[in-house]
Symmetry: C2
Subunit: 344 residues, 2 copies
């Protein structure tokens, strides 16, 4: 259940009077960030009347999307993610990019998100005219974090942002989702390999397109270089990436602005390489298929369990499956039988 | 569509006269391998009348399942998987185990499987009275390979087999499925790290519970030891496993019977460790949840698209999504609207 107070937050104001969708879409496409923020608020809205508006809005801007670099960035708390993104983002702006930063935070729909935190922690970037830093969504409907992040990304692209950074804030599933939303996945790591690995999900390191060692400044430079070398060796032993890409590893410092240009170079190299061999498009198509299947299945289940009796039997069966009292395949099939009876 | 010839293969004979399920279940539970083979044939059958029998059979044996070690083994072609499994299996039998070998081969429902191949390649093991080597299923209904492997595993457990080896034969998705079916995942690798990585899916190495370097015999021992050391270093840089397990790496030789006792020791150590900290049960519960959700969603989709018009619109929408002409979330929602209309 959603907390009713979410409905009373800022975005209610934005949707309480009739919206001229055509005008809003045109404003977004002209690069107006106030319109962009308002559009994202509609996307994150849980109100039914906003759903139609959202669909119209997405249809109106869709043809202007898909051109940007989409970059996922993750790392454990303490790795210096915000300062990295600020430093990297400002560097990209110096190179002519318009940079948008979005967050995936599965915990935010429960905790209320970190709206103030986000604005504060990327102070310089969020004030820059060629940047758009969106605070973590707090009102996003349950389970729809990836959806609203993806749709927000499309609005940012329509507004002319050509480097979209999707930052993961939560742990666990959020890296997987970020990976399915972006073209290039960057993992931030500290030099003292060991403890900081605790928060990273298994498989993430092997799947990263690049690893940047952070805080490579002052006394820490040598240790960082050694760590980078270790990771390079380790990744060399891992299976190669689709799209013929050898993951890059390098050292960075947000305070000394070290390595930011190199990370940007990796991005360009990756795109160039994958556009040539066709993998850029293949990957985006696979991602579209992934989200369609996933969302369709989720929605199907919610349609069919909107019946109270079915919802109860689903939760009973789920408990039996979880407690290993029944074979999961048999359990699913018996539930399907009840659904079929309802449909007849 | 299934090839009609599958219906004419061996198992048809087994199901063409009425089956006394109680008797069959009792025979399986008494350890009769002819009954076990017949039970698996029913599980793999695509015929509707066998479905009820299958469900009765699984219910009758379910309480006698869940005690075995379930081990997934994978590796690229050429790594020596069959000879490893034969050598490892015989060693486990010497240690008092009863060993069953099953295969996951997503390609088999198309190609007709490798029935003869399987029997031939594990010659000594398949003839042993304490072993049961099941040829790759060829008649398994489309997409149900993991299901029939899991259900076959349960029958083997009921028949008293306490070490179940699930071998992946195909590539790609099959390792992921094997991982979700087993307690312990063993990756076989050759010593000359490089080319042989090509067939391994990204994320598999980081997820493996152990790596065994194969063919560590003759002139190859030093190279194998070095490779093991390299992998040990690399895995040390990867995130730790749930259940507080540090993946093991060692060298093995099937012809010189080297390292087989060590791999068995890892297995026991892993189980001991994870039973103590509770992860053994948590993992099995997670797997049950995984297969229930996955199977329910698959079945739901097939129920709802059994209507021809819906099936057509699904395939049209899928094509639009794949060609990046429509946002996947919006596409899924529009399809759900048509389904809702049908339900009203």
């Amino acid at each position: 259940m959603l907390n009713p107070r979410f409905g009373k937050q800022g975005f209610m104001k934005a949707t309480s009077k009739p919206i001229d969708v055509e005008h809003l879409a045109a404003s977004i496409k002209s690069g107006n960030v106030v319109a962009l923020a308002r559009g994202i608020t509609i996307i994150e809205s849980t109100r039914n009347r906003d759903r139609t508006i959202k669909n119209q809005l997405l249809n109106a801007i869709f043809s202007k999307t898909g051109k940007a670099y989409r970059v996922g960035i993750t790392g454990v708390p303490g790795v210096g993610k915000s300062t990295f993104i600020e430093s990297f983002g400002l560097n990209a702006i110096d190179n002519g990019f318009k940079v948008a930063v979005l967050s995936i935070d599965p915990s935010s729909s429960r905790s209320g998100g970190s709206i103030l935190g986000d604005k504060t922690r990327m102070n310089e970037l969020s004030k820059h005219k060629n940047a758009f830093v969106r605070p973590t969504a707090s009102g996003t409907h349950l389970g729809g974090v990836a959806q609203s992040t993806r749709e927000s990304m499309l609005l940012c692209e329509a507004a002319g942002f050509d480097l979209i950074i999707v930052e993961t804030v939560g742990v666990g599933q959020s890296e997987i989702e970020a990976m399915q939303l972006t073209d290039f996945f960057l993992l931030l790591m500290l030099s003292g390999a060991g403890d900081e690995l605790q928060g990273i999900k298994r498989g993430i390191m092997e799947a990263a397109d690049a690893i940047a060692i952070t805080k490579a400044d002052g006394d820490n430079i040598t240790a960082s270089k050694n760590a980078a070398q270790e990771y390079r060796r380790a990744l060399h032993l891992m299976p190669p990436h689709e799209g013929d890409w050898i993951p890059k590893v390098g050292i960075t410092s947000s305070i000394e602005k070290r390595g930011m240009q190199e990370v940007l170079k990796w991005l360009k190299l990756y795109r160039n390489n994958c556009e040539k061999n066709g993998y850029w498009e293949i990957k985006r198509k696979k991602q579209a298929d992934y989200w369609f299947d996933k969302h369709l299945q989720k929605q199907l289940l919610s349609v069919l369990t909107s019946n109270e009796a079915l919802e109860n039997s689903l939760s009973d069966i789920k408990a039996s499956v979880h407690n290993l009292n029944i074979d999961p395949f048999q359990a699913a099939e018996s539930l399907i039988q009840s659904i079929k009876i309802r449909l007849d």
